[in-house]
């Protein structure tokens, strides 16, 4: 029983943390992108407009949710829920800080520290594609259909690139458990450079790019390209259902940033000192700092780049990213082979 209660507490805390972060995230994005564009962004709701997201959410909550005549009602209603649930689930395996030891028991700071964390993440994010595909299909309307076709193609191809980009990480760290991957990045190379997986630079870049595509962010936002296909898959959604899609997108942004942090930037690793409490808090701080920097990078990219075209996007994914990662995997396995078994000529 106590295992069950612990799990519930962990999940509730994780979701609470995630939702608060997303509220903040939307605000930070709007503020930062407006600064990049000489604007000032939201200012009215709360100090510096920090409550703007909450206000928007409340507004959507009280708006009428319209169901189109030709919609496939059940799928239409299910799609936003799937989107949010998968986005939330993905976060569960990400550790936000170093394990804490209380009374001799070690508690991991991931809601669910499973051994095949990476596989879990890939699995959950593939289910996320269904939400968008179904949303477009079930709306019974043409623009959403175009959007969902784009989405399926885009997410499936970039899923592949993302999966391949993770292989070197696994090879390098020797584990599929996310906590173990972070652990393996503690320490330093030559005593100075932190031993982060970012040394797997090609994987890092490909993972980031695929991350943009997975979250449908600019320059890969052609799934919801407003100027072309109005709203893409969520054209027909209104009120809270639209807000759920919106929420899911921002949760994914946070997830991808957090993943990048744990997989490539050493997760919670960073200088830790002082009393026990500080020893607990500092890793969380380092983790959040790195994650937020990546989020700001996401926003910066969005402000600086135009949107790609559908065929260019596919060509980029299949003809550039995937061959690149494959080549990199081969190169890395040779290098690792040398390291582990010695060079054949030696």
């Amino acid at each position: 029983m106590s295992v069950f209660i612990e799990a519930v507490i962990r999940v509730v805390i994780a979701f609470g943390f995630l939702l608060t972060t997303v509220l903040l995230l939307v605000w930070v994005e709007r503020k930062f992108v407006s600064r990049l564009q000489n604007r000032i962004g939201p200012t009215r709701a709360g100090p510096f407009g920090i409550l703007q997201t909450l206000a928007d959410g409340l507004k959507s909550f009280f708006k009428e949710g319209i169901t189109p005549d030709r919609a496939d009602v059940w799928l239409y209603l299910a799609a936003p829920v799937i989107a949010v649930v998968t986005a939330l689930l993905m976060f569960l395996v990400i550790p936000i800080g170093a394990p804490i030891e209380i009374n001799g028991t070690t508690y991991s700071l991931a809601a669910m520290d499973i051994d095949v964390g990476l596989l879990y993440i890939l699995a959950v994010s593939s289910i996320g594609v269904y939400a968008i595909t179904l949303a477009g299909w079930a709306s019974g309307s043409k623009y959403p259909l175009l959007g969902s076709v784009r989405a399926s193609a885009q997410m499936i191809s970039y899923e592949a690139a993302m999966g391949l980009a993770l292989v070197p990480v696994v090879m390098f760290s020797g584990s599929l458990s996310i906590s173990a991957i972070v652990e393996s990045q503690q320490g330093t190379f030559f005593g100075v450079v932190p031993a982060w997986n970012v040394v797997l630079f090609p994987s890092f870049v490909v993972f980031l790019i695929a991350g943009f595509a997975e979250t449908n962010r600019a320059p890969f936002d052609l799934v919801e390209a407003e100027q072309e296909i109005v709203g893409g898959y969520h054209t027909e959604y209104s009120g809270m259902r639209f807000a759920l899609f919106f929420l899911a997108e921002y949760i994914s942004v946070f997830n991808i940033s957090a993943l990048t942090t744990v997989l490539f930037l050493g997760g919670w690793s960073g200088p830790v000192f002082g009393p026990t409490v500080l020893q607990w808090v500092l890793p969380i701080f380092w983790f959040l700092l790195k994650t937020w920097l990546i989020i700001l990078f996401f926003v910066w990219v969005r402000a600086s780049l135009p949107r790609m075209r559908y065929d260019q996007l596919m060509a980029f994914g299949w003809k550039k990213l995937i061959p690149l990662t494959l080549g990199w995997i081969i190169l890395l396995s040779i290098a690792l082979g040398f390291r582990n078994f010695g060079a054949p000529w030696a």
Partner: protein, 214 residues
Amino acid sequence: MSWFADMLGPFRGFAVTLRQLSRPAVTTQYPDEKRVKPERFHGRHVLNRNLDGTEKCIGCELCAAVCPAKCIYVRGADNPPDNPVSEGERFGFVYEINMLRCIFCALCVEACPTEAITMTHLFEMSTTDRTEAIYTKDDLLVERDGTPNHPYPESPLININELRLGDGWMRATSPSGRADYEGVVQWSPSARTGSMPAEVGQSGDISHEETPDG
């Protein structure tokens, strides 16, 4: 190093967006801060009075005739001899402007021979009722001491003081293209704004042979 610059080419855009962080935002936080409007701004009309409190409008209907949107309705009446309302023989007995039709072209201002109708810097006139958009003489005419009227009370949006500014377009079009008449006051003072100076114009180089007085 040119190959290095070439390689950076695709990323130069990132520097442009980042550079904006050091610049001030261009947003004006309306209505908390209102931008300074130029002198010639075309805002809400007012009907002016002379310094002695008589109305400037002589009911000549020129403004109504020239209005391309046909939104001014004027009916003149003879001045009562014992207590004249205006300086001339007649005065504007009914004066209405339909602000929904008005395109703020300021042709009425140019047409008015007595500078009775001029434009101010106030443009906050939104309403929820169409009938309220027809401004009557009560709304348009300033008080005897020059205090302007407005159908809506002062609010964060509406700054009644803006109704005291303006007349720039009337002053700018007064010379009507004659260099000789630039920089010359060609209008009588009004109770609302007092004696307004003329724009400097290009007068420095043009001699004023026949300088008419105000």
